[in-house]
Symmetry: C2
Subunit: 161 residues, 2 copies
């Protein structure tokens, strides 16, 4: 579990990143639009966008040369990150609901119904949450036994298995 979470957080761990991602997802994908809708500092937005592009989550593309204008689009990698947002939304709706119900609804293309996501087991299709699994060391585990503080560890790479 450890390092995959850390690696994911390395990409979208800072608080603004998921909100930026969400905005691009819903079509707010130009610099000034994002900056105004989130009320984020232009400097930080520049940094985050650069990082998200470097990480392969967003793509910066020119929609007009002369005047050079750019917009940001989700890659396949980024679109799958938005699945994570869907799960966040689900939790936020369930546990921190405002007075008036969820602010946004999702209609599933396949069935046309207003719905929400559920976690299922990829093998047996039954519900699969954190309460329904055992955690075992896998092939990429840092070291067999009880070793923490791997040496060349970057930010977020502290967490041992």
């Amino acid at each position: 579990m450890a390092c995959s979470i850390a690696r994911t957080l390395d990409v979208i761990g800072e608080p603004w990143s998921p909100l930026i991602l969400r905005n691009v997802y819903v079509g707010i994908n130009r610099f000034d639009q994002i900056q105004q809708s989130l009320d984020i500092s232009r400097k930080v937005l520049t940094e985050r966008l650069k990082w998200l592009v470097e990480s392969g989550v967003l793509e910066r593309r020119e929609y007009s040369s002369r005047p050079p204008r750019h917009e940001y689009a989700l890659t396949a990698k980024g679109l799958e990150l938005c699945d994570l947002l869907l799960v966040m939304v689900r939790w936020g709706d369930r546990w921190t609901a405002g007075e008036a119900g969820p602010p946004v609804l999702y209609r599933h293309h396949a069935c046309g119904e207003i719905s929400h996501v559920e976690l299922r087991c990829a093998v047996c299709d039954r519900p699969m949450g954190a309460a329904d699994v055992d955690v075992l060391p896998g092939p990429g585990a840092g070291a067999p036994a009880g070793s923490h503080d791997l040496p060349g560890a970057d930010r977020y790479e502290h967490a041992g298995p």
Copy 2:
């Protein structure tokens, strides 16, 4: 979509929080254990734990009075947040895999197989990801039409619908 993400991020938005949650989930649930395994500053850990307890995600319980000793445990609310971690792990494994495969594996109690989570539609059971939904305004939407910058907004509450 907006504010539910923001509300969720308000609880676990800072980078350390998901890692703390994960540690408690796997049984590393005392102050010094967490501090050492994450190599996090004691001060910040204190703050995060306090916040997670206030948010109802963790519970601080005394496992020994005199000497007063405490440990942290997940609440139901917190356990469901761990579902989010499972989805993070899935993404991290797929897109930022190390050389040697995933560091941790999950065995599903119901079927006994090593597996991973999939997102399904709660209504029709078919796969449901960010690519498979339309986003519509819901009952709790800030305002009907194109209004941003709601006034009394706290941190993360900037994001309009």
